[in-house]
Symmetry: C2
Subunit: 527 residues, 2 copies
Amino acid sequence: MSQAKASLAHLYRVFTKPEGKDSRLAQIEAQLSDNLADFLSGHIVTEEIPLEQIEQDFSQAQVPEQPQFVSDHAQHLLDTLVSKSVNTYSPRFVGHMTSALPYFHLSLAKLLVGLNQNLVKIETSKAFTPLERQVLGMMHRLVFAGNDGFYQQHLHSATSSLGTFCSGGTLANLNALWVARNNALPPVAGFRGISEDGLIAAMQHHNINQLAVISSARGHYSLAKAMDLLGLGKSQLHKLNCPQQTLDPQQVLQKGQQILQQGGRVMAIVGIAGTTETGHIDPLDELAEVASELNCHFHVDAAWGGATLFSERHAPLLSGIEKADSVTLDAHKQMYVPMGAGMVLFKDPLAGNAVRHHAQYILRQGSKDLGATSVEGSRNGMAMMLYASLHILGRQGYELLIDESLAKARKFAQLIKAHKDFELVTEPVLCLLTYRLCPGHLREKGRVISDKHNHQLDELNRLIQKQQREAGHSFVSRTRLSTESYPEPITVFRVVLANPLTTEQDLQAILAEQSELATKHPLWDRL
Amino acid sequence: MSQAKASLAHLYRVFTKPEGKDSRLAQIEAQLSDNLADFLSGHIVTEEIPLEQIEQDFSQAQVPEQPQFVSDHAQHLLDTLVSKSVNTYSPRFVGHMTSALPYFHLSLAKLLVGLNQNLVKIETSKAFTPLERQVLGMMHRLVFAGNDGFYQQHLHSATSSLGTFCSGGTLANLNALWVARNNALPPVAGFRGISEDGLIAAMQHHNINQLAVISSARGHYSLAKAMDLLGLGKSQLHKLNCPQQTLDPQQVLQKGQQILQQGGRVMAIVGIAGTTETGHIDPLDELAEVASELNCHFHVDAAWGGATLFSERHAPLLSGIEKADSVTLDAHKQMYVPMGAGMVLFKDPLAGNAVRHHAQYILRQGSKDLGATSVEGSRNGMAMMLYASLHILGRQGYELLIDESLAKARKFAQLIKAHKDFELVTEPVLCLLTYRLCPGHLREKGRVISDKHNHQLDELNRLIQKQQREAGHSFVSRTRLSTESYPEPITVFRVVLANPLTTEQDLQAILAEQSELATKHPLWDRL
């Protein structure tokens, strides 16, 4: 490989001249643009490569001294990075929440980098700021169904915030709980508010000894992270057991009353609209009532399930979400936008003022800078990707996608139930389900599977998931789950059927491969 | 405009077929790729359009019902979004920290979206995780200069973390202070640590009444935001005055001792390597000593200035940064990577364990998932952009860029000093400087500019900055600043000379335009 020289001419060229049509980078780009599926399946190595082996290619902890030609580096990326990446586009990789994306995002990604706006302040984002505000308004309306006057008043108001964009659900949940915490401990005589005076002064002035959040055991791990960050402590996150995968409002109320009796206060109830593990939806309507009774913030983590609202048929599954004080959505999940497009929405456009901050050269009072109520500072114009998707797919397009995904999950559940080697563990509420390998004779009527058998099944399912992943044709994920039938957690396969390219044939092939791997495995005959 | 239909066929097409070569989107992409400067200057409207007018194009708060053809939408984006964006590539837009980027990022942005990996866990990022760890290792070595053995041990270790990538400096600073807070309040008998038991229990068990951070008045606004988020309260952020633009270590020590005497503790000192407003660098070496004396965490916010370490000639400006416990860097600033590439680095690879978190289906104990010690959860593979830049530019390439920027800033300072209508307010330490319009006669030897004149000058500088921005040929930003000569804040122009395409001619043109606008202004003759 020839070495480039660190000259001003070389640098100037990199900044001002595109690679020629015949350059390696241009070739790669052309392949990628012409047929992404072929590009990925052609370049990504099928069989899993041990991580330690991949790490060898990335073990040099020293900034390279000399420049490299773009074409050389492009080939290097193809060989070391692309070849060992995960094919998230593949219709048989149904173990995670990333899926094939619409083609236009490839071109828009380029436009985004070409424009390279910084959304933290109007001065460096001009049209992107109104665009982001509009997208937030659209999503706000989808969730909260405000009227025309409401959006006319708040969409572009400097003192209102319908929500903020962020990199993902974790930051969105943090932002929501931050706002909830600060609003729960407002200024009183001698106390300037928690933002200024901190948590300890806040608890003293409000005369409370604990500030708790109630959620289900299926709550996303980001909730605990937020409790740590906000200084409340993970022990103040009460994750209630949910053998049926959803919160019991009665239990939430009891827990809340117990906290109040102990001199504490419930800061927030978090309902989930689409748990990460099984896709279940908490009873949002009833939880809203409990929150109202406990006089606390009601947050809904709809990172996964929020997009269900596009479907007239399935939106009622999320009934009650419109009563939430804040809602988390991830456009990079069921909205088919590239990674990095989370959002938090606030029903009350003034709620975010509890965390509003200013600076001299930026985020001035009265400015419409988006960074004034967000956790993040500088960030890119990812909102454009969702804006384009909302227009090009339209509500009706999203509706079709959601309806198809849910139908596919139900179809897959049928296939699993009809197969002698599998047991459906959780029914799909949205397009997620869990199941496991479990020979038919263990599931005969009236029979209870012993702990010993369950442990053997755990081991078998773990091994087969790994084998299948390593073979590289398909990918399902696995988790451990307790259910009504299995109070002790069992190991299950978890699938997410959001990829519109996944067909029934793909699903049959996944089961066939698992069944074949399992029945050949020595553990199988010992069951 | 014809309406697309929400059919499965339309959707399937969007997910599987690229737009034809003659489609509007493909045309736009081709223009963008062939000549970005022409594309931007050709499509972005020069004169500033009032924000209210831009907002009219983004005022519909309802998800469009029907799908739209990709070509139609591409044209729409061009007309409403691109045309009203900010030309961050332009060599005469020197008011912000975003600049022209190398061309290869356009193609890589496409590759990134095509691969669409999720860096939160190995399962969905495979090769990207080792790559990100390597990039963190390279930057760690640039800052802390560990030896080979150190990086062999920690680069890919599941229990070590050399740092984390994040969207930007705000999150990086938050991450650093979070780690500092949790390490300052470790578990003791009857207390499981702040992460579990929260801030109030922590303060009780450690018998302290305040947990303070000391920084300069030039500290980034994200520090106050972090204080709020972490529950410490902004009032515990002690921002010391710095008429010379840098922290006085003696004052920091005094403030720290005062806090200790009051029963508090200093959690961290934050030094700045490149302030946002003037580019000044705190005396890091001496601050490290003070931190050691106060037994507290030493964080360096090198979001802007960190890249100076690439330059052998200028790296000594940051002397002492290697003694920091944590360092913030932004690759989207002087490393010429697209927006959204921040980092925090930890000198001690075990420091991040104070915020380590796990979950069942993800971030399992012993896994190398990158999400276990970060503020963010799901996020994209932006590290690839820096990886490519480090290879294609090389240390020597970056060195040239840094050296050129600093030389350009010094040149601009000379031009300002030689011009009768301007006053240089802060000398460039890095490639930032501040200046203002101020007629020569007011600056005659021995003369002190009166408050009245300063107020008039403030008004004049504010108006001219606005006029220049609105005219759309050039852009400098403005801020208010106090200095040794001006203890009362004055309004100044602020320029950042990081764009490699900016020439001396550009700088002369900027001054000429300002001088012309000013001398024509009625305020000028009244001075």
